[in-house]
């Protein structure tokens, strides 16, 4: 045995491997910072003419984008920002509860075989490209959902956000929010499902053993365990909604107002869709202006994630 002992001790301890691996890991971490810095600096660089350039030309560019309704960059980006946040927030609200419900259904309610099928369906749906949601939303959902919005406008119209008459066709913020909700739903579902499935069986047994019903077990063991996962899943979803381009572009009838009239057309537009819509025909300065709006979107996602992050930290502390 002692000869084997010696062999064991002589074997290299993998110290070089350790150092190399650690260096690579650190480098990868730092690369994230570098990449983001590069994106930020580049956007700022390209948007610089807005600040440092000829202001008269800027005004002219913005006026050409808005048909003279806005005269400077901030008047232009304000409504876009409002629209972006409005649409994303609505879609997250719609998707959140449904997603958690589905995730729980898959992780704790459905029989195992069905769960496997459902999981793959959800994974597949997470993968449906936004351009397909754009096709579907624009060509199929818009006509189909019109009567429902009419109904909402008729009976819930006294709530200001549902003020009618509902636009026909329903290329409105409400419809887009539904489509975005459908789009982010699989992502929220699949991430939270994965987390729910990881709930330690010991915890579940503890709850069940105390005489908890299934729902109580979920409240006691699954949701607390999955909390930070749910938040990060929602953030992934919100991130996708904030940045979604094609579906909004292909469905929404855009407008540049600060309006909450979800059922009316030509009220709001999102930054991302606006860039896609205007970029092809934009000149040099126009591109700068659009990149400026992209920078604003970038900052907003930064803030949203920052706040969400603080919530997560507080919750897990």
């Amino acid at each position: 045995m002692s000869s084997q002992d010696n062999a064991a001790r002589q074997a290299n301890t993998g110290k070089t491997g350790d150092i190399v691996f650690k260096t690579i890991a650190y480098a990868a971490g730092i690369l994230i910072l570098v990449t983001l810095a590069a994106v930020f600096i580049f956007l700022l660089f390209r948007a610089w003419p807005l600040i440092g350039g000829d202001q008269a030309a800027n005004t002219q560019t913005v006026e050409s984008f808005t048909g003279g309704k806005a005269h400077n960059f901030w008047q232009y980006v304000g409504p876009l920002l409002f629209g972006t946040v409005l649409v994303s927030a609505l879609s997250l609200i719609i998707a959140f509860f449904i997603s958690i419900g589905i995730a729980l259904f898959i992780s704790h309610y459905s029989p195992k075989k069905l769960a496997v099928v459902l999981s793959s369906v959800v994974d597949l749906l997470a993968a449906i490209p936004s351009v397909i949601y754009g096709l579907w939303g624009g060509l199929i959902l818009v006509p189909a959902i019109g009567p429902f919005w009419n109904w909402v406008a008729k009976y819930l119209g006294w709530i200001p956000i549902f003020e009618g008459p509902a636009a026909s066709p329903a290329r409105t913020v409400a419809t887009v929010a539904v489509v975005l909700a459908v789009m982010i739903l699989p992502i929220i579902t699949s991430v939270s499902r994965d987390i729910f499935l990881q709930t330690p069986r010991l915890q579940e047994e503890a709850a069940i053993g105390l005489g908890a019903t299934k729902w109580e077990m979920i409240k006691l063991a699954v949701l607390p365990f999955g909390k930070s996962g749910i938040i990060s899943a929602s953030m992934l979803g919100l991130g996708r909604a904030l940045g979604e381009t094609m579906a909004v572009l292909m469905i929404l009838s855009p407008g540049l107002t600060y309006s909450f009239k979800l059922l009316q057309a030509s009220q709001n537009q999102t930054i991302a869709a606006n860039i896609a819509a205007q970029y092809p025909e934009a000149n040099e300065l126009g591109v700068s202006t659009l990149i400026g709006t992209g920078l604003v979107l970038f900052v907003i996602t930064f803030l949203v994630n920052f706040i969400a992050r603080k919530i997560t930290e507080k919750a897990s502390a």
């Binding site: 010991l202 579940e204 047994e205 503890a206 709850a207 069940i208 053993g209 105390l210 005489g211 109580e216």
Partner: protein, 259 residues
């Protein structure tokens, strides 16, 4: 008062694998019954069927009856939730709720049954349960700390406190002391002795001395061979089991004892 349990022709499956075969046992009310036997013979498995805990393992199912005071737990109209309310369980590995404080852990079960509990009642209950589990002195100053920060032994005692706090009729314990030091073990054993006036207690243990000390009846489970199902080899009152077993396998197993 504790309730009696009668197990008739119980077969337990994990999917297609028959883990335990044809168990017949009568568990007396207000007594302590110990399950002993070699590792893998199905002690935990049988124990878990007594409050339908195995059901949360996908594919696990039983054939046969478990009668609690004559009522079959596996009848269609029986709600497993209410079964588990009357039959408490302490597990092999400590499992406090990680997001809850020590205090909340103790109250977790009670809160499920009754949402409106006055602060002072709750305080009393927490103290009672923690004292019973011999944990009070160690944690009384940090009841609001997370339960998960305790050491392994402390965590297990917390789980015992949590289980007794709901005051079940039957208490199932799966090696509750395997992570405990002798002093805590003694305290838990005292508690078991105390509780058996009111509860029916079933305990799985590897420690035959423990079985001998606290159990009124002892069930010896065995395994014919690896891969074969486990079965109940011999069931007797504890004195008979340890002094004069009428079963060769049981005798062989027990005589391998030590200490």
């Amino acid at each position: 008062m504790g309730q009696r349990i009668d197990v008739n022709h119980l077969n337990i499956y994990y999917g297609n694998f028959l883990a335990v075969e044809d168990v017949n046992i009568n568990i007396e009310p207000n007594k302590v019954t110990a399950f002993i036997g070699p590792s893998g013979c199905g002690k935990s498995t049988v124990l878990r069927t007594l409050d339908r805990m195995h059901e949360i393992i996908p594919g696990a199912h039983v054939k046969g009856e478990v009668l609690l005071e004559g009522k079959n737990l596996y009848d269609k109209d029986v709600d497993p939730v209410s079964v588990r309310r009357d039959v408490g369980m302490v597990f092999q590995r400590p499992n406090p709720f990680p997001t809850m404080s020590i205090r909340e852990n103790v109250l977790a079960g009670v809160r499920l049954n009754n949402r409106h509990i006055s602060k002072s009642d709750a305080d009393d209950l927490v103290e009672w349960a923690l004292k019973g589990a011999n944990l009070w002195d160690e944690v009384k100053d940090r009841l609001d700390n997370p339960g998960i920060d305790l050491s392994g032994g402390q965590q297990q005692r917390l789980c015992i406190a949590r289980a007794v706090a709901v005051h079940p009729q039957v208490l199932l314990m799966d090696e509750p002391c395997s992570a405990l030091d002798p002093i805590s073990t003694l305290a838990v054993e005292d508690l078991i002795n105390e509780l058996k006036g009111d509860y029916t207690i079933v305990i799985v243990t590897h420690n035959m001395q423990q079985a001998a000390r606290i159990a009124d009846y002892t069930a010896f489970f065995n395994l014919k061979a690896v891969g074969e199902p486990g079965h109940l080899e011999y069931f007797a009152d504890t004195t008979t089991m340890f002094n004069n077993p009428q079963n060769a396998e049981a005798e062989r197993y027990i005589s391998g004892r030590f200490g």
